[in-house]
Structures are given as C-alpha cells and as structure tokens.
Amino acid sequence: MKKLAATALVALYFAILALPLLNMRFGLIEEAPLLGVTIPALRPTLTAKEVAKERYQKAFVAWFEASYGLRGTAVRLDSSLDYYVFQEAPAESRVRVGSGGQLYIDEDLDYFNRLALPPTQEFAALAQRLARVQALLRARGKSLVPILSPSKTSLLPADVPSAWRRELGEPRPSEVVYRAMVRALDDAGVRYVDARALLQAEQTSRGVEMFTKRGRHWNALGACLVMGSALRLAKTLAPAVAFVDPDCTPQDAPTLTIESPELDLLRLLNVWHPGPLRDAAPSTVTLPEASLENAPSALFVGTSFSVTLVVASERSRLFESFFLYYYNKTAIHHLGGESGHPVDPTTAAWRDETFSGDVVFYEIPEWYFPSTNSEFLVQIETALAP
C-alpha cells in the first residue's frame, strides 16, 4: 500500500514537471489563451559556435519560455492569485489595480507621478506649428482638428492606488504640463478640442464616468462626445464639408466579453474571471447613420485613443473613408484588416492618403505632452509649403 502510494506520488510530481513539455510537444490539453500582444520568440539554430558563445542557450531559453506548454494556465493561476487574493496585478504587469477595481496602465501612472516639466518653448513651438498647418489646410478647404486626449488618471485621479501615488502637492506637475499646453495653444490661436476639459465637464454634469473601468481608454460615450466636438470644430473650419453632428445618447450597458475593447486592461492581467462582466458606464451610444454619398473622408493621426474614435465613427458611418496613421508610423486603412504599411512621406501614396481627406484629426496625448506625433506636422507643413 505504501509502495503504491509512493509510486503514485512520484508519478504526480513527475507529471507536474513534465506535463508542460509534453503539452508543448504533443498538444495533449487545450491551452488557455493568453491575451495581450507579445513579441514572438523564434527557435534558434543549433551551431557549435553559438553554443560556445552562449548565444544559443539564451535564445533557446527565450523560445522555450515563450512556447512553454500550459503557459496560459500557469499565467492565469498566478495572476488570479495576485488579483483575487492580493488585490493587485503581478509585479511585472503594466497594469495596476486602483480603488474599486479601477485599472490603470503604467504609462498613465508615470504621467500622473511625473516630476520633470518640459521646457515651455517646446509647447510654444508645437502650438505655432499647429497654427500654421491649420491655416495651410484651411486655405485648401480642409480642416486640421487637434484633439488633446486625456490620461485616465486626469479624469479619475481619486481611484489611483495609493501605493502608486506620489504626493506632489497641488497643482501636480502633470497638471502644470497640461495647463502649459492649453495656454500655448490658446496663445498661438489654434482651434482645438480639449477632450480632457470636455470629458471632465461631462463627467461632472452627467455623473457617469467617461473612461472604461477595466480599460485604458475613454468609453463609447466619451468617444462619441469627443467625436461630436471634433466634428463641430471641423465644420467651423471647413463649412463646405457636410459633417454629421452625432447624438450621443447612452444606452444600457450590455454584458461584455473579455474580448470587448472596454476590458483591454483586464485582458492584460490574464486572470480567470467569473461569469459575465459588466461595466458601470454605457458601452454603446446611439449615433445617427450618415448618408454615405455626402459623408466626408478623414485622416486620423494618433494613438489607440484615435482607434476608438475611428471605431465610433465607423460604426455610425460618419465618414466615407478613413486612414489612420498609428503613432504616425503605420498607415492603417481597415481596422481588423491588414496590419498596414509604414508611413513614408516621400511616397505618392502618402500624399494621396494625407491630402485626399476633408479633415485631419490630430491627437495630442496628454501623457506625451508636448508631442509624440509632431513629425507629422513637419511632414505636412513641408509638403504644403509654397
């Protein structure tokens, strides 16, 4: 009996150790999918020289760990332990858990806790360039709509976890940076959408959060309100173009799946989640369908916040066509379609994409102030220069 028990235990221990490798090789058990984007590791080629220099070993370990059998299950087990028992995200995670389960990404928290202030002349230079490009496009019957997109920490500062909050007094340096940006834009006479101020005001008046609780971005209502404001400004700048003013009436919050964009930060945690997920804020809004014959075309230049604007616009067919210059690095024509091609201002395709539209929505993310896509302004100014 004792021998049988000992054999069973040794078999169990051995199985715990060997099962990942067996699953990696033979796929015995279905893997729990890992959510989020990772950089794939390639299996290296074995050569004596690479082994001697220990490069093969390093590359092999990277590949082995990335391909480890039952990796999804292991990650979920450990992450769930952190999330449900310790009420936090794993140390290596880019996500932090705030009050009431509000999730933040480290980039926003870095901005919230930032200490250094950029030189003020950088704000002025960006604002003046924006003013020049806006005037150049306006002269061609087109509009450039700069959108100051807010950090989640600016809209929901109270929920920032205390362990990730640096007490910096008021105003915080991030607040000073934001005010400097706004002042520079005003001084330069730039017409823009201050999405931070807009959403703060809407959040107060409506009593609803404008950001997804377990996501990084503004929610559908927030995106609609920003898009509406941007379209109204576009109409002012280019009156001849037929822009539709969306009516952002919130609907009931539907049940979300883990794939929903509203849960992009929860996805990164890769925890087991019990049952249906709901978000406090409405995740859909009613938008009128525009007539495609008269709909304008648009170019978006920005981050994933611009992607959410494109999603809102696409759902309501606000534009006949659109391009997205993601971080002004990758040109995307269809969301969810091909991965896009590099933005290259020396090509004829770039001129087509950039100048065929009626409006350019140019995002200035608050956490990257004074700029992240500023090379686009240089490129377009160069192209439009007499």
């Binding site: 040794v10 990772t38 070993q57 082995f64 992450s79 976890p161």
Partner: protein, 479 residues
C-alpha cells in the same frame, strides 16, 4: 541553467530522472555524469574543458600523493595541486578585480595606462569546485580519504550537477562510498522531490517576491533613501538571501536524494542564532566547516596564544569574505563578521552576552547580520555606508524623489516578508518544536500531508510564478 528555471524544471530534470531511473544500477553513475557534463556544457561551455582537465589532474595527483614514498614528496604534490587550483580560481574569479584595482592604482600614481583586458566570465561553480579539489588532495595527504578508484567517479564527484550552482561543498570522503553504491528506494525519491519542491518554493515564492523590496531599496540613489525604505530593504535582503541560498541547498539536497545520495545539511535556522559565532555554525555549514578544517586549523587554529587564535579567526573570515566575491564590499563583510567573532571571544564580552536573555541575543545578532548584509548586497563601499547611514541616521528623501510604495512593497511582497520572517525566526521563539526541514515521508501523518499536499502545491505555484514572471504583454504594438 538555474534550478528555478522552466527549462530545468520541465526539460532537464524530467529527462535526467527518466534516464536515471530507467538505467540499470551499474549505469546510473554514467547517466549522472553525462547529464552533469551536459549541465556544464549548457551553462559554461568554455569552462568545461578546464573542469575536465583539473579533474584529471586532481585524480592523478591524488594517486601520486598516496603513492609518494616520503611526506615531503606528498606535500610537494599537494602544494602543486593547490597552486594550480588557486591560480585557476584567481584567474577566473579575481582577475577582473585585480586588473581594475591595478588600473586605478596606476591612475592614482599618475600613470594613465589602459590595460588591454577582455573581462573574464565567471564560470558556474568554480569556487565550490576549487574547494572540493583542495579538500580531496589534503584529505588524501592526511590519510583521511583514499584516492578515487576511477576517474569517472571522481569527475562525477566534482561535477554532480545538483551542487554545481550554489553548493553545498562536497568532500570526497563523504561521498566516496555513495558514489560506489547507494539506495534508490521510492521513499528516498518521495523525500527528494519533497525537499526539492520546498526549496524551489523558498527560492521562487519567497526569495523572488521579497527581492522586489530589496532591489528597489538598493537601487535608490544616495540622498533619496528614506529610513523606512532602508530598513525594509535590509530586512527584505536578509530574508531574500536566506531563502534564496537555503532554498538552493534544499533543492541540491533533494535532487541528490532523488538520485540516491545523502548530502549534508547546509543551513540550520541561522537567524535564530544567539551570537555571530553561533550564526556561522548554522549558515552555509559546508563552507564554515571547510574553512575550519582546511584554513583555520592549518593556520594554527587555537593551538597558539590567545592573540594568535584571534588573528587566525579574523584571517579566516577575511578570506571567506573575499571568497564570496571579488569586491571590497565582500572583504569588508568578511572583516566585519570576523571582528564580531573576535569580539565575542573576549572574556568580558562573552560574560556580558551570557547575562542577556536568549531572545535579546537573537535580536542583537540578527541586527548585526542585517547590517552585514548591506555590505554584501551593495555594489560599492560608499553605497553600503550610505545605506547604513540611512538606516541609523534616519535617512530622508524629498517626497518628489522618494520611491513609490508600489515599486517596493506590493501586497504579495508584504505577505511573503511576513511569511518568510515567521519561517526563518519561529524556532527562536519555540526551540522545543524545531524539527528541521519539512520532511516528505510516508511514515507519519504529517509527512503524508507534506508529500501529498504541500509538495504538489509548491511545485504548481512555483511553476506558475516562474511562467508569469516571464510574461508581460502589451495592449497593442505601438508601431
């Protein structure tokens, strides 16, 4: 290939165990040797020929010592072996240090000459192997051990992979009989897995978690370290190094047991020691006893005057510090411990110590050890002194420069600090229930619970933690 790596746990170890258990008894040593060579080939391919050469040399010298007709000839062979081994250690472990120091010294003298020097990579296990080789030759010389009967057996003794990374330091006379013949019953295998899994959990779940706090504290720039963070960092490192090192020893002992070996214990609740002298009988025991037998006693031990004995003690600790690492911080750490041990041998201090309650002596010893670890962990003497200054001088930092609590103290880290402290210190409060390492045995109810409950849980949670620590996805690619 650390034992706490996924490749070792799910690749190397199952492959070794499968090959080892399937091999007939007479072939088990060959399997163990092949896997040990493979372990070296993976972790230090350029060092493998050196180890093999030194092994062959040592084997030959051992026989030469045994056969030498006169003590003088015997001593000559032993001396030759020691010179070769210490020279190898000096080259691989200390050459970078000496070159850097020589360059600095020349610069201080106004000679600005850049030495064309490619830094030497420290191969795994060289410090342990050197000591094992020396002890082999000395034991054969003293007549405490017979020379190895076969070269493969001697190479297996030197290279046996369970002890390659962090010891314990083997002695030929302890393993010789086991290398020739040993038991492979199931009870030993269960106990071996148990010991290995608990060691793995100590390293992965506790040491790695508390390391977050220690790393954050020691990464702070001078002037930005608060007293709170300094104490937390010192405490966290005190637990980290214990759970890391003793966890590795547990893993080595467990792996050995799986293969039928019985290795000596290397730790015995060192943080429950009531003096620094006692600490060194409980911490890295295989090193302490090695230094006693092969350095302290040859230096004269306590056979000379009281003053000479104290000098011998101090020299042993000084060299022990340097053995731990090629930096002045390690030398100071060794000297610091040596000074405390010397102090404790002074009659007045010993009498004072004896008057204090044991718990207070344990607390004071722990404090001394913690301060010592600051020197061990710091990358420079200046940094160590600044850190200790922050601990005792109430270091402060402008709020703006202070580290965020989340960077050094997550809930998990805090929980592991408490758990680690309880495990490490509990016998100090209840010495009556000290039972040594948790034993997975099917002979007792407690052992059953450990074997069937704790061990699988430790294995699964450790693998999950290791897997997750290598996974950090992005929402989207930026470009």
């Amino acid at each position: 290939m650390p034992f706490s790596s996924l490749l070792f746990l799910s690749g190397f170890l199952p492959a070794f165990l499968a090959a080892y258990y399937l091999a007939p008894t007479r072939a088990k040593n060959a399997v163990a040797l092949l896997f040990s060579i493979g372990f070296y080939l993976w972790g230090a391919p350029t060092f493998l020929p050196v180890v093999l050469f030194l092994g062959v040399l040592d084997y030959s010298l051992g026989h030469a010592v045994a056969r030498a007709p006169t003590p003088r000839r015997k001593r000559a062979f032993v001396a030759a072996g020691i010179v070769v081994h210490l020279s190898t250690l000096a080259y691989f472990k200390y050459a970078n240090f000496f070159v850097a120091e020589a360059t600095q010294l020349l610069a201080a003298l106004g000679v600005h000459h850049t030495v064309g020097w490619d830094p030497v990579v420290l191969p795994i296990g060289i410090s342990f192997i050197t000591f094992e080789e020396i002890s082999y030759l000395v034991d054969v010389y003293r007549g405490d051990a017979r020379p190895a009967r076969s070269l493969p057996q001697y190479l297996l003794f030197l290279m046996l992979f369970p002890h390659s990374i962090a010891g314990p330091i083997f002695r030929w006379k302890d393993l010789e009989a086991q290398l020739a013949s040993r038991n492979h019953d199931l009870d030993r295998v269960v106990a071996g897995f148990g010991r290995f899994s608990i060691g793995l959990a100590k390293k992965v779940l506790i040491a790695n978690s508390v390391a977050v706090a220690a790393d954050a504290a020691f990464a702070q720039q001078p002037g930005t370290l608060t007293a709170r963070l300094a104490w937390l960092g010192a405490a966290a490192y005190t637990l980290q190094i214990y759970f890391d090192f003793s966890g590795y020893s547990d893993m080595a002992i467990g792996l050995g047991r799986m293969a039928g070996f019985t290795f000596k214990e290397n730790f015995d609740f060192p943080y429950t020691s009531a003096s620094i002298t006692e600490f060194w009988t409980r911490w890295h025991i295989s090193l302490s006893t090695w230094l006693r037998d092969y350095l302290y006693i040859p230096l004269g031990g306590n056979r000379g005057s009281a003053r000479r004995t104290l000098l011998n003690v101090f020299v042993v600790f000084l060299l022990s510090g340097f053995w731990h690492g090629a930096d002045w911080t390690f030398v100071v750490w060794g000297a610091y411990h040596g000074a405390w041990v010397v102090l404790e041998r002074l009659p007045r201090v010993a009498a004072l110590q004896a008057r204090l309650p044991r718990l207070m002596r344990v607390a004071l010893t722990l404090l001394v050890v913690m301060v010592g670890w600051v020197f061990f962990r710091s990358t420079s003497l200046g940094g160590a002194l600044g850190f200790v200054g922050a601990m005792f001088g109430g270091g402060s930092a402008p709020a703006a420069d202070a580290a965020l609590t989340g960077q050094f103290l997550s809930h998990r880290t805090a929980a592991m600090l408490v758990l680690g402290a309880v495990i490490a210190l509990f016998p100090a409060f209840r010495p009556d229930i000290r039972t040594g390492p948790l034993e997975a045995t099917l002979d007792t109810r407690r052992g059953w619970l450990i074997a069937a409950g704790l061990v699988p849980v430790c294995l699964v949670l450790s693998i999950a933690y290791l897997t997750n620590s290598k996974f950090s996805p992005l929402i989207y690619f930026k470009f």
